[in-house]
């Protein structure tokens, strides 16, 4: 943890800020991209949200109290940014967030930055039927392979509740895929 404290100090010090922020970017850009992309589904949207996430991280670093790990704090910002983005986009198009995602999934086949076949699309369609929280938990556990402890810190819930959520999500997905 002392390493992290030092690193945060480097991020705040104007002299070391640039190098430290570069390191932060190269460490986190890929995992945060996957996290955001799994939520917003479209590459261009994920790109926008990821950029905004890092800008926010940079702006709010001085307010970072070190109560949680930098890792989970950044994931939390990314999650909020992605969900807010989805809601705004849905509102702009006069759709519900779920309808928007269903539409995006239908367009996935023609997305040049999607390399999947039927089963991937079916899995995505199954995920959309879940409540928002279960979607998040499932994506973070199954696709991003985060630990329950990490997800608990990011989403601010208990490990037990997450395990239950994941279990429900898997059951619903299996039923959906079997019957479709």
């Amino acid at each position: 943890m002392t390493d992290e404290k030092e690193f945060i100090q480097e991020l705040l010090n104007p002299k070391t800020q640039n190098t430290a922020f570069q390191k932060l970017l190269s460490d986190y850009q890929k995992p945060l991209y996957s996290h955001i992309r799994n939520i917003v589904l479209d590459h261009e949207d994920a790109n926008d949200v990821l950029q905004n996430t890092f800008v926010k991280v940079f702006q709010y670093l001085k307010n970072f109290k070190g109560e949680s790990k930098l890792f989970s704090w950044m994931y939390r910002i990314a999650t909020n940014e992605a969900l807010t983005f989805l809601n705004q986009k849905a509102k702009l198009n006069g759709l519900t967030s779920e309808a928007l995602q269903t539409k995006t999934i239908e367009n996935l086949k023609s997305d040049v930055y999607f390399d999947g076949d039927e089963i991937q699309i079916k899995l995505q369609k199954a995920i959309v039927t879940l409540p928002e929280k279960q979607q998040l938990v499932f994506k973070m556990k199954y696709f991003e392979e985060l630990k329950y402890e990490e997800i608990a810190e990011i989403l601010g819930t208990s490990v037990g509740a997450l395990k239950a959520s994941y279990h429900h999500a898997v059951k619903k997905i299996e039923i959906y895929v079997t019957s479709n």
Binding site: N18, F21, Q22, L25, S26, Q29, K30, Y33, S34, R37, N38, L41, H43, N47, L50, Q51, F54, V55, F58, Q59, L108, Y113, F114, D115, G116, I119, Q120, L123, K139, Y142, F143, V170, I173, E174, V177, T178
Partner: protein, 138 residues
Amino acid sequence: MKAFKLENEPKIKSGFTTPEHYFDDFSAKVLQQINNEKEVKVLPLYKRKNVISIAAAAVIVFALMIPIVNNYNATSKELDEATLETYLSYQSNLNQYDLIQNLDTTDLQKLNKNVAIEDETLEDILASNPNIEHLITE
């Protein structure tokens, strides 16, 4: 159809990919955006100015209200006894009968004490009063 079990299946990847070399220049883009945001920071300054002028206006309004408030407080003081007495005797329809009506036993006893005059004094008054007959007949 065979029941689908996620754990029996080979791991399904999300299938999301990125353009080639996407991450190569990503950090540069972010830093660029951060610098742009810094330049646009004129906005909050303008907003703050606005807030200050609104605050100043509010202070002036309150300051102008001080004499009004003071005046209001001054007029709302309780009536003093003399004013009340004057009012009762000149402005109201109260007469002595109304006052007598409102006297209770304790008031009467108090009055009695005050009126108790010694016999001698009474005799003096009667003797020195030239209109004694007039008084008796009344």
